[in-house]
Each structure stands twice: as C-alpha cells, then as structure tokens.
Symmetry: D2
C-alpha cells in the first residue's frame, strides 16, 4: 500500500521594496510549492530573484502567484479586466518570474491566482478563461505545460479542463468548511481556525483522506492534492513547520504536484 | 565584393493603457529590430503581446527596451538604483517580454536600455555592470546569449566585453555628431536633424561606411552595426520607410544584428 | 422671461507624463466647467497645475475628476474598493487638485467620478456613499460645499441628497437616450451620435428644455443643468466650440453650475 | 530664565496598503511633530486620514513628508526630476495630505523632504529651489506660510531664506556627528548610535544647548529647533517615549516649531 501524498503550498515573496510580509526563508523549509508574488500585488524584482534562488536550492517547486495590478489594495480589490488584458497580464507575470526561476536552475511549474482574482475565478468563467489563456501563452513560451492550482469546483478548474491545462486542487487547513465542501465565508464567525493543534490535525486528516468535521459538526471528506498554509500571519512559518512535521510523522509523503521538484 | 550590411532599429510599443505614442504597425514595415517597451517606462502587457506577434509575423527581431521604473517620467529621470535591484529589474523586464516573443514563435534577442538609463550607462560603470548582470540572468534563463545594443565607446560596451556578452553599436541618422564621434548634446542648437532628406542621406552614408559631416563641417566616419530611427515623433514611420527604401535602393543589405531574424 | 441656462463640461488633463490625450487649451475656450484628472487614472502633477492656472485665467470652473487607482486601465476597470479606502482616495484626489486650483486663485468647486467609478455609482449605493463621504471630507477641509456632478436618477444623486451635498445632473449631447431617459448602452449600435450637426442640435434642444428624439423615435424631455462634451476624441475641441457657438446663437446662457465662475 | 525648548519629530504613516512600518499611535504619544508620508514613497490615503485625525486629537503638528515618486525604492533612489515637475509633485503631496489634516480640524504646517530627496537638497540648489517652489504653491493654496524642516547648512535652508519661506533645522539624536557639525556618513562604522541611553543623553544635551561629543571625541555644539527620532525601526516608539520622558524630566519644554500645536 502506498503512502498518502500531499503538497504543501504557501504564498511567498509578498513584500515590496522596503516592506516585508512573509518569512520566506523559514517557509521554504516547510513547503513543497512556493506561490511567488510577481510584482502586481506584491513582489519586487530582487525579492523574486532571491526567493527563486533559495527555492531551487531547497528543491521547492516554484509557482507564479498572479494578481490584478493593484499594489494599493494588495490584489484584494475585485476588478473587471477585459479578457485580452487579463490574459496578457497573467502571462507577463509568469514570464517575469520564470526568468528568475530558470536563471536559478529551475522553472515556474504552475500558476495560482491571488486574492480577489483567486476568488473571482471560482465563479467567473470569463475571467477564468482569461487566466487560462494567459497560462497557455506562458506555457507556449516556456515549453512547460504549466498547471493551475485552484479550488475544487471552481470555474478555473472547468476552464483548465476544457483547455487541456493540467490542474490541481487545494484545501485550507485553517478554514471551516460547509456541508457542501465549500469554504465558510470569512465574514462568519468561526470561519478561520486559530488553534494550531486543530490546524495540524486537520492537515493530517485531509492528507490521509480521512474526514474532517464541517461547520455543522458532521463528517466531511475533503479531497485535495495540495494543502495551503498561510504565510502572511505572525507565527505562519512556525505553524507550517508543525504541519510538515506532523505529516511526516504520520506517514504522509510530501511531494509537489508539479514540476518534478522535492 | 559583399554588400554593406545594416540593421534598422526603433522603439516600439511605447503606449500605456489608454495612451498611444508609436505607430507600431507602420514601423514594423521598415525596421529589422524592434526595441519593445516592457512596462517600466511604457508598454502594457496586451501591447507587448501584440507587438511581439506582429514582429514575429514580419521577421523583425525583438529586443527588450529596458528602463528605470518610472511611468510618470517616461524613464527619462536619471536615477541611482542599487546594483542588485537594477540587475533584477532588467531581468524582470526581459522575462516579461520574452513570454510574448516566445509564445509568438520568436524570442527576445537583445536588450537596449531606454532614456535616462541609456544615457547613464554611457559613463556609469556600476549601472552598466548591473544592466549586464541583468542581461546575463535573462540569458541563463532563456538559453539565448542576449546581446546589448549601445553607443560606441560606452561603459555598457566595456562591461559587455568584459563579461563576454555580445554587443553591437548603433548610430543616429538624425543627430549631429561632434568631431570625436560623440553625439552633440540635445541642449545645443542643430543637434537634431529635422530635414528628412538629410536624415536619409546620412543613413545611407553610415550604412555604406562613407564619412558624414560632423557639427564642425569636417568629414567623420561613424561605424555602427545598427541605425536608430526615432519612433515617437509625428512622421516617424514615414521617415523610417524612406530610410529603408533609400538603403535598399543604394545596395545596402538590411539585416538584424541579432536573433537570426529578417 | 429669462434665458435658458446651461453648463458645458468636459474631461481635461487626461495625459500622463509623456502622453497627451486632451487638447486642454482648446477645450478651455469652450467649456464652463473643467473636470480635471487627478493622477489616479490620468493627470500628472505639472499638467494639473497648468490646467488649473489656465482655467482660472479664463474663468472656467474647476472640478475634480476622481477615479479608481488604475493607470493601466485608465480608470475603466470596475473595482470593489472598501468604503473607507474609496472615501479617502476621493478626498486625496480632491486635495491634490485643490492645491493647484487655489494657488492659481480659484478653488475646486465640484467632484465628478470618472469612468468605471462614474458608472458604478449610478447603481451602487455603497460606493456612492463612499464618494459622498470623500466629498464631505474635502468640503470640510476646503471650507467650500463641494457639489457632485452625476447622472439623473443615480445612486450618487440620492446619496448626495441624503447627505445634504449639492448635486447637479448632466446630459450627453452625443449619446442616444432610451424611452425611460437612461442612456442606450454603448454596446448597442447607434448609441453614440457621430454626426456633429446632430450633436449640436441636440445640445441646443436640451439647453432650451425642448424634447429630443429617443432611440425609438419618440420625443423625450431630458433635463440637466450641464451638458457633457467629450474631450478625448479627435475633433473634440472643435465640436465643443461648435456646440458653444450654437448655444450662444440660440440665446442660451452659458454658466457653470458651481463655483461662481464664468 | 526660560526653559530650553525643543520639538520632537518622527516619520509616520510609512505603510502602504497591506504593509505597515511605523507604529503611528505609539509615536504620536511622544512626538510634537509628525512627518506624514503622502503616497509617493509610502502612505496610502486611508492611513494618511487616520494619522491626521489622531495627530489633531493629540495636538501633534502635521508636516508633509514629501518624496520622489518611487514606491519600489521607498523614495531612497536619488533622481533627477525637472524643476517644474518636482515643484508640482511636492505641491500635489502637500495638498493631498492637507485635505485630511484640515478635515480633522488641523492643517499641514510644514514640509520635510524624505529619503533621497532629503539628502539631495542638502547640496543641490536646483532641486532645493524646486521644493521651495512647491512649498510656495501649497502655501498660496492653503493660506498658511508653510515652513520647511531641514539640515543645518543645507541648500534647502538657503533657498528657503532667499524665498522668505520659514525654515527650521533638526538634529539627529542617534547619529554620530563630525567635527564640522555634519553627519558622519552611514557607510562608516559608528555612524549610528544603537545604545538607547546614549541616544537619550544626546537628546537632552542638544535640547539644553550643551555640547555633545563628536566622532573624534571632541566637544561639539549642535544647534537645532527639532530632534528627529526614527520611527521605522523595532523599538522606535519605545525609544521616542524614553527621549520625551528624559527631556521633560530635565526641564526641557517640548513644543512644535510650526503650526501652533502642542
């Protein structure tokens, strides 16, 4: 019998110029996939370069964390962007990151939308199609069939499937799930798990294909190839380390879903 | 006896969002090398994509026109940028453009600094070294030995030579030259030739390795592998077309210096 | 019997750095109110200063044309911005423009949202309230009861009324109207009048409180204190001049709705 | 005999969007003058609003911390900006901040250049003149004779004097001074005092017009109307509180140099 397999992803490189947000070095010790900010919501060029170099050194797979062009709103402002503009902006960001990934000996292996764009492509088929078009442009350019990392049941997943773009789904170890498998909105109380032990236990359960408890107290099976741990909160790196240690202790194999890394 | 050989380059894609500056389609009919703006002084993602697609269709070689990060000043504000930041910013821009060049079936083949950065690396060895470092990062990433296009006698040329980066020099058909072969400063009267016939004649002379007349009236031999025609003035595309026609009529072979295009 | 009274407004200062869009000097010869871009979708600081100086010289009333923070999309990307952020961004823009208006001897007299924000506050009460809050912050700061210029029936108008903020409505001389008085969507054919004579005739009719012909051919009375003429198209300034001349010829009095100008 | 008098200033509001840098609330408990970032190197609109409201509540005088337009470099990239552009950009920033200061019941009372601009106007008379022109534009607009806060012996001071703009000088309690009264360059070891006790003692000495010890060990009299405490380092707010407490204990009167505040 084979060991259960999971990827651990986090957002990295989310500073800009003088500002820092994520403890990139510490997170790279735990994750198998790094979603690296590409300059549109965060992520200046020297930070992108440094994160890529260290990710390659440690065998962490590199993904492009693409966003709306919105530094002031940190990419959290939902935005209507015409399809051709959004597709080109996605490809632009992937290309800008890939130069650092490749110079370091790696390559961007997947794309994960950030913030408002991530949430938008859960339901908005047009923007999802624009993201997929951008991914395809970047794939043609790099010769790598870039994957997308997204929410189960999302429009982005459907568009990826329709276009023949590889896709993988992720779960959130620190979020409450509703009975239908969707995330409980952040506006509702209890939507975020703050207790580290609970986050660790839930991570192990998801990785081992065991049911978790949904917001109503019923068992729920959450299926995902990757677990997202948050990188931009105090204690984020320590929690990621605990999650990784627990997964390893419980016989879960940690492996990136894309790129042949780790 | 072989025909004299010259490249014709111009700045393209220098709009941003709603704003347009260069008549990209018309210029692509004349030039053999297109210096495409990469978003730091001009050049939004959809424009970059479109220009790359059309350049590849017409066999025009694509170069990255890299700049300081300065939309408000159109990259014309001289700036001190720490070496590691400038190197990364150069590589970022090349990578962002290369995604569109490659998706269209081509590849970025060279780098030309824009505006204040272009002028700065004529004398500033540190910034020149930073640009070359950025070019090397992008070359490692793309597997192509990117060339730089620069002024004869510039620090950028020396740094390129020292680093083993291919370099090519350019001349300006619409600028007055001083006796030592340097450009007459724009602040002096007569520094820019406005008469199309004079520009055309000078273009042909430079391409045929014949002397031009310097600002003092003496003959001067200007040696360059490429001729720069300006793209952002009214009538620019028409003048480029006249220059090209005259070169072809006078037996000059038009060929890009890099990339194997045209 | 008093002469009918109308204001003529246009968007000005919509360049950025190297780029120009509107013929500000020519438009200032025709309009009574100038909607000046404030740097968020267009409008650099030196342009704002120059437009304000010339507007004051000619007795043209100055309004702040406020926008989402979106240079790449020219403020045309609809965006969700949290209320406190949008309110502060509106006030920021008004304050930045007012410094130039006042230094020139005038003062910002009103606020007109631009592009996607203009369209959004037609129906979105929350963003409309945010804009009004920003206007109130700027009014408290300047000691002037700033007005808003908006579409008849808009949420912005309701929010202005509820908050006691003076409001004025505008009509579009070059747009087709539907039977209910709303604008025909731009996506439908015939929504924009391209024939100058038709635009001029419609301008005069609206100013004289005479019915125009709606998209279905029926008479429609459009009531507005201001007429908007577009400034960013070729021939815009010439059309504005024709509209002004026709209004004056037909006995319409041109007067700004706010600020005591003209 | 009157008590010695000093102002305590610090940089505030130096976050942007998602990023925070300065502990604004804590600093406002200690300083008498707040140099508030205006959006060009840091400082988003809602932060500017909040800092102004709290500064007015606590009687802290508000200054505009103006910068080159450079978010990526945090305003630390020295830049050549044409005089008319720099003057307008300075006025723009002051106006944008003043709207929040006035809406809160206060007013911007002075201008302090930030980062690379601060250093540049120590010696560059042209940029210093541009800053003064911007200050004069903003003064005409606001009806307040805005002061500038600068280094003793700086070109900005001379230009302010020549233009009749009020000026005040500041000293740095945590920096080593050379025998001629200038700051020891940061590139030299020992240029920054890290020991809180030393910073506190030096603050008190400067405020009481007592000599400090220069880098060579000789006594040096530093004369300044304001003391700058850094706001962007860990422990900055605690150190500022200690400095204030020591000044009060030793009979120094804390009072802003401008604005009639505190």
């Amino acid at each position: 019998m084979t060991a259960p397999l999971i990827d651990l992803n986090a957002d990295l490189g989310e500073g800009f110029g003088r500002w820092r947000l994520t403890d990139d070095d510490a997170l790279l010790d735990s994750v198998t996939s790094a979603n690296v900010a590409c300059g549109f919501h965060a992520g200046d060029a020297p930070t992108m370069r440094r994160v890529c170099e260290r990710a390659v050194e440690r065998g962490v797979t590199i993904g492009a964390q693409v966003s709306y062009l919105d530094l002031a709103g940190f990419g959290r402002r939902p935005m209507d962007v015409p399809r051709d503009e959004l597709a080109a902006e996605v490809a632009y960001q992937v290309g800008a990151l890939d130069v650092f990934a490749r110079a370091a000996g790696g390559a961007v292996a997947y794309v994960k939308p950030h913030g408002a764009l991530y949430n938008r492509v859960v339901r908005d088929a047009e923007q999802a199609a624009a993201v997929i078009e951008g991914v395809q442009v970047a794939s043609r350019a790099s010769g790598v069939a870039l994957a997308v990392l997204c929410l189960p049941g999302s429009a982005l997943l459907s568009e990826a499937d329709a276009a023949g773009v590889p896709s993988f789904t992720e779960a959130f170890a620190d979020r409450a799930y509703q009975a239908d498998g969707s995330l409980q909105p952040r506006s509702e109380s209890g939507s975020v798990l703050h207790e580290p032990d609970a986050v660790v236990a839930r991570s192990v359960a998801i990785a081992r294909h065991e049911p978790i408890t949904d917001a109503g107290g019923a068992p729920l099976l959450v299926s995902a190839r990757s677990l997202c741990v948050h990188g931009d909160t105090p204690g984020a790196a320590a929690l990621a380390a605990r999650v990784r240690a627990a997964l390893e202790r419980d016989g879960v194999q940690l492996r990136a879903f894309a790129g042949g890394g780790a």
